[in-house]
Assembly symmetry: C2
Homo-oligomer: 513 residues x 2
């Protein structure tokens, strides 16, 4: 993981002062791989509690990610207190083979968190924060607990669509907070699409000037994007931007004349435009400049190139495109033209030292796809067969189809996540390993800042658990229900406007109206 | 309408200063019965704008409902301004046969609003506020307009369920604001039910002490209830409380031992309880005291008595109930026992000078129902046949079945409202007139303060239009779509977290996160 490379911390450790008292077990969401809790519990004093780096830890004060996490989690654990004094205690060192594993050991007077990376440590801090609870008198407690934990899948993504509706910056930041609580680690930012182009490009400012819903109120400035990336990074979340082409680009055309294919009707241009014009040099020059900027602005090693739902009608109507097809020997097969375009874009991306992610269409219709390209499945029907074919061809795969949670229905539709088995398809063990994870997708046709949060949470938490936890231990939605109810109340306590699972109430209700 | 009787204002009138300029037509939601708009428009100056009572108007300064409405609507119309100076102008008097009709005439330099009642005047003010718009330079305009308007149905209700989840006071008040914008006029407060009893009774404080989710944070005090009623009254909305019995009363039993029927298993009490015990005197004494308090606290002439979904299993298991059945000659027909109970409750209500509303079950299973009882249809299947039977029997009817908008689905489900024709059943013209209106129901299984507002709005607006407007003019959801989109943006501008209808944006987006 590239984020690891950014901060090469090999080990770190924290401890907290607790003193032993009595009983009550509190859950962790998503379910840790190994969790042993005892009825013995210790009291926590917000006044005397501290996070401390182990003496031999590679990370020490000055490790920006963990320093910030300590501050954040102190407030989350003790919402009534603003600071605690530091008390030193014993020190431990560790070494793990898996860089994302963490080990959390809560015993008398202290808790020890071990991880090779800060990213693992962040997940452990999250689990620790969920273990702390208050009794009826407001005292803080934590039970003796042993956790060994690591993610089932490395890629646990959530897609937001900021083109069909603009989402204000604080809605995105709040989503990142909630993602960290559920241990999501990738924010797939579907930043532009047909309806609007809110990304303010430094190279092509007219794209948002003319393609955004509004050139000032409905855009993401460079500084906005940096804030999102930094907010995400501090929470162990990667930001993968998607610049979808050659389809889904109507808004691009407004600020970049000549980019889209002019459609023809009755032998003359109709005035409307189709996908990006793949037959002219200027298109590739533009895409190269744009992708160079994207590489500069978004540090992540992945770039999502889209490639889905390209309609051929407009290409077919255009005489220049038809001439180009003839010249290239594509006959009447427009998938070859699409293939030609996507291959160029994927090669550009590779030359920029970035790994491409593309929607499944690119695999379905194209012959040559660079081997390291990640394929994402979005079509609901027969995704098992698609998983089989893609991994057979040796590609890494992301599964999103069963987690299109913009599709709402009445009742407890989060239960559907518990029936999803991303590795349940016909294939070898090697093929199964090529499924690197999945994504919850919140497409924006019917979603904006008014309803985003309650539609996402806690419904997305169910997918988060299935992507993180052991599949065998989390097959039963009925068993998950009371744990998810508790976690939803915890989300409310943390200020996330998460909707209810069913009749009832929380100790800390949502008060943000 | 009882509210009219409270404030016997026979006529009132307002006018505003405008000066003529140019063009753009702005809609009114719900569609007025008669609306004529001209391309001529007048500029409005927030500095010089005023609401004024006509010289011969029965209402004058001191009319609390309209004084408050003037203040409210000034801020709604001119959100950037806090006050305007008063300028007098010409005066008109009126007389209408329908007390709820209003007439709004916007011409050069003034607008005249005529209505027999303050309630009609409130609707007219709402329409007026929707007619004002700003051009690209921020100047305020209104087109020359003539409106004659009145509601199709007298009863346009919205049900909130505060038992399955507690709704904080400000969520209810905000809902009342939005109801007034859509010209709803009845808040059906389903205040208690099985899961919790949040109403803090002065007579029986243990009902909420023991039956609420929490005896302090999850209750409505007498003062809370008064605030709701007054907030509603000022907006022309009646508050009809529902105290549903004999079923749906599990939470009542906690604070009122002896009220519910003890269920038996194997000849001994099982420890669980069923519906209210209809066989003992103490039940009726309790209900009479409670209903007396309800009459005292809720001024509306209607009280909803529930009567739905009574399960007979517990009654059947109880030897005392069986003995009572025998003594009364009910045989094994428990509908007769239910009938006996409901009749007593309805008679009590009548003796308190209140009109009962009951759910359709009471009509379906019972023989004698006081003629003035209003029946409410909630079962989705074959509601046309039910409408026919009920009106045949001479009862007034409310239709709620097609407007259970807690049932969500993906996409534009508000369109369903446009297919609902409450008077399209087999029956005479006299029968059709007995349909006095309908109710949108937002049951609380999956709804609390986190998601209430975006689930309600703008979906409920569609029902509001069908209950207010001429049916023939509002049969087409496609025609309603752009108008509803505009109205939804207006709701956002007024601070209502209304979700989007489809892809796009508003000039004033929701900013309440």
């Amino acid at each position: 993981m590239r984020l690891t490379a950014l901060l090469p911390v090999r080990s770190c450790l924290l401890l907290v002062v607790v003193s032993v008292c009595v009983q009550q077990v509190h859950g962790v969401w998503p379910l840790p791989q190994q969790l042993h809790q005892s009825a013995d519990r210790g009291c926590l004093s917000p006044q005397r509690f501290s996070f401390t780096y182990g003496r031999d830890s590679a990370a020490q004060t000055g490790c920006s990610v963990l320093d910030a996490a300590f501050k954040r989690y102190f407030s989350i654990i003790f919402p009534d207190f603003t600071k605690g004094s530091v008390i030193n205690d014993k020190i431990f060192i560790l070494g793990w083979s898996n860089p994302l594993t963490y080990n959390l050991s809560v015993s008398e007077g202290q808790a020890v968190l071990r991880s090779v990376t800060v990213w693992g440590a962040l997940r452990g801090l999250e689990s620790f924060s969920q273990l702390v609870y208050q009794d009826d008198y407001g005292s803080y407690f934590i039970n003796k607990t042993e956790i060994v934990d690591f993610p089932r899948f490395a890629f646990r993504g959530l897609l937001l669509d900021t083109s069909r509706h603009y989402l204000p910056l604080h809605a995105i930041l709040k989503t990142l907070d909630a993602m960290a609580y559920s241990k999501f680690n990738v924010f797939h930012w579907h930043i532009v699409d047909d309806p609007s182009f809110p990304y303010q490009s430094r190279t092509f400012p007219d794209l948002s000037n003319k393609g955004a819903f509004h050139p000032f109120t409905h855009i993401y400035t460079q500084s906005d994007v940096m804030r999102v990336i930094e907010h995400a990074r501090m929470r162990g979340i990667r930001v993968v931007p998607e610049f979808d082409s050659p389809g889904h680009t109507q808004s691009w055309g407004k600020g970049q004349p000549g980019l889209l294919t002019p459609c023809y009707k009755g032998g003359v241009p109709s005035g409307s435009f189709g996908p990006v014009d793949p037959t002219i040099d200027t298109t590739y020059k533009f895409m190269e400049s744009l992708l160079k900027e994207v590489k500069f602005v978004f540090p992540d090693s992945y770039v999502h190139l889209g490639g889905d739902e390209v309609s051929f009608a407009c290409w077919q109507s255009n005489p220049n495109v038809r001439k180009f097809m003839e010249k290239m020997g594509f006959g009447k097969d427009f998938t070859k033209l699409e293939s030609f375009y996507m291959e160029s874009i994927m090669n550009m991306t590779a030359a920029l030292n970035r790994t491409s992610i593309v929607w499944q269409d690119v695999f379905d219709y194209h012959e040559r796809i660079p081997q390291d390209t990640v394929l994402e499945i979005w079509k609901g029907e027969k995704y098992q067969a698609e998983l089989s074919r893609m991994t057979q061809a040796g590609h890494r795969v992301l599964l999103s189809a069963p987690w299109y949670i913009n599709h709402i229905s009445y009742g407890q539709d989060w239960r559907n996540s518990y029936a999803v088995q991303p590795q349940n398809f016909s294939g070898t063990e090697e093929q199964k390993k090529l499924v690197i994870g999945g994504e919850v997708a919140m497409w924006g046709e019917y979603v904006d800042a008014t309803n985003l949060t309650p539609r996402l949470w806690p419904r997305a938490c169910a997918a988060a658990e299935r992507l993180w936890s052991n599949e065998e231990k989390t097959l039963n939605a009925d068993l998950a229900f009371p744990r998810l109810e508790e976690f939803r109340c915890e989300l409310l306590r943390r200020g996330i406007q998460a909707e209810p699972l069913f009749v009832g109430h929380c100790k800390h209700e949502y008060d943000g109206l």
